[in-house]
């Protein structure tokens, strides 16, 4: 009985600590930054049309930027769109 009680106490104490630890983590995250950029990403990611624009990932420039470990590769990759080329329509995924 005593053993059971001890186990119960210990389990509850642990879960309480876990909640506290999680709360602390969240508080620190929010203190670092309150911008929630990933929400925007989540929305865009969900509305994207499968396959469209995938050619970018297959370009040698992209692959080299992503994979290259030797020497000092160009660690900065810029994707430019020409105004009026339909970038807005296609990229935004809808009108």
């Amino acid at each position: 009985m005593e053993q059971q009680l001890r186990t119960y106490m210990s389990q509850n104490a642990n879960s309480f600590n876990v909640i506290n630890a999680t709360d602390d983590r969240l508080r620190i995250f929010t203190w670092i930054s309150s911008l929630e950029s990933w929400k925007r990403h989540r929305d865009l990611s969900a509305s994207r049309l499968g396959g469209v624009g995938g050619w970018v990932l297959e370009t040698p420039e992209f692959r080299e930027w992503r994979d290259c470990d030797n020497g000092e590769p160009n660690r900065v990759l810029l994707c430019c769109g020409i105004p009026g080329a339909g970038k807005t329509f296609i990229w935004y995924g809808g009108v």
Binding site: V52, L57, L78, G86, K87
Partner: protein
Amino acid sequence: MYSSSLVTDHLCDSKIAPNIGVACLYCDYSGRKEQTPVSMISSLLRQFVTGMPEIPEELTQAFRAAKGHLGGRALKVERIIDIFPKVLKYFDRTFICIDALDEFRVEDRAVFLQLLKKIINKSRNTRLFLTGRLHIRLEIDRQFNRPFTTITIHPTHNDIRQYLTVKLDNDFGDGAMDDELKEEIITTISRKDSEMSVFYRFPIADLH
């Protein structure tokens, strides 16, 4: 925006290294008030720290120290830049993706780029992916003063076909659309992909 979300997802799913960290930001005209160089860099830091099993002790201590002042003083930019490489070091490879740089406040863009430059200069395992209109290239060149690769984004014939197919399949108009008309629209428009500005002017609903 489209390519950024595509690239970000691709990097998150990739297996090029055992422990990959990815953080993304979407610059936006409408969010200019809250999108300052420091808030953006802080957001990147938060995203990487979120991917760590434990918050670095240095940050926990700084949080505790800040708590007692003015309801929790924010991290100073010098401190952020100092902590950043230590956080990035936890990962084997890190990627920072920033979309629509041209929509970031022009008067703050140089500061933002300088902060990004400091971060990547201190972390060899970090790659930076940027998107923006063509003119942004000159600014990056001026601020980074290092070689970088450029890809020009243009919708391919196939992109346009796929896009139109999905849009027309989801068209619940008055029933005037049939398979023949759909094919005619797709073929005609995707053939004229060099005249894409037509899309910008006419929403798809106006095309039939």
